[in-house]
Subunit: 166 residues, 2 copies
């Protein structure tokens, strides 16, 4: 699997250093995401988008507007609606009118949904800790630091393009 | 956009360091991927899966079997078939019988497809170089190094699970 996921090893010598850095970043992310996806399917028979949606709801006990959910998850409204419908059908999520604006819906986890998400989140965290355990603590700290600098540099670059990226 | 993409900033204090590291990695990847997707759509009116498929074909001038393409791109055969059909229709890709096994198809770029991919790849590289230019050269080298260690640690961990991951 690792070789097939490894796009960086397919680059030729003429390619630019930044491109190598980007593909290495993408390869690491893909390797972890692939295992997370596998694990969620094996242990809970659920998909990653469903886990991500429940994670957003878990962080907003007062509910989230449908439009905000779409933006946060970067998928189209149609996909979100279908996912929410499924979760409502299973008693994991409820829909209600927004207190501020009765024309919009808010969704939140039920007690059952919260319990199920907590079990999945604990398993997810165990998996991530296990996957990263091969990297010594000092290297993990340094990488966390370096990625913080990258994140700031990217944010400055993307925001610098004007209002569009906001 | 940056705030909405930033899953790491939604973690609470109790979460584990490795989880912070993973979400920072995911945030950086998502920020770059989101810009790449936008750019490919604006400049060439194409999607990221289509770019990825053409990139695989560009690296295999002698052709790639359909089954290998699916594995390399980690999507289902059905999606690949639909994408290849579109590209064949536009004269960018050709299908032919495999020399080794006439029951399987191989696909490769046409001269027109190769020219179009090269223009897209050049634009893609310019974008990546621009996005990462906010990070000083020394930090870029260090990050490249650290991600190499992470990649090796992940590969060891995932391969260590036995035959399953291969």
């Amino acid at each position: 699997m690792v070789l097939r996921l490894d796009r960086e090893s397919q680059l030729s010598g003429r390619d630019h250093l930044s491109l190598h850095l980007w593909l290495r970043l993408l390869t690491c992310t893909t390797m972890i995401e692939h295992r997370v996806r596998e694990q969620l399917r094996e242990s809970f028979a659920i998909t990653l988008p469903r886990f991500d949606l429940m994670a957003q709801l878990d962080r907003a006990p007062d509910g989230v507007k449908m439009s905000d959910l779409s933006r946060r998850l970067m998928v189209t409204g149609g996909n979100i609606t279908g996912l929410v419908d499924q979760l409502v059908g299973e008693g994991l999520v409820v829909r209600r009118d927004s207190v501020e604006d009765r024309r919009v819906y808010e969704v939140r986890l039920t007690a059952k949904g919260r319990r199920q998400f907590e079990a999945m989140a604990a398993e997810h965290e165990r998996l991530i800790v296990d996957l990263l355990s091969g990297l010594p603590r000092k290297e993990r700290d340094e990488l966390h630091e370096s990625l913080g600098e990258l994140k700031a540099a990217l944010a400055a670059r993307i925001d610098g393009r004007g209002g569009k990226a906001r």
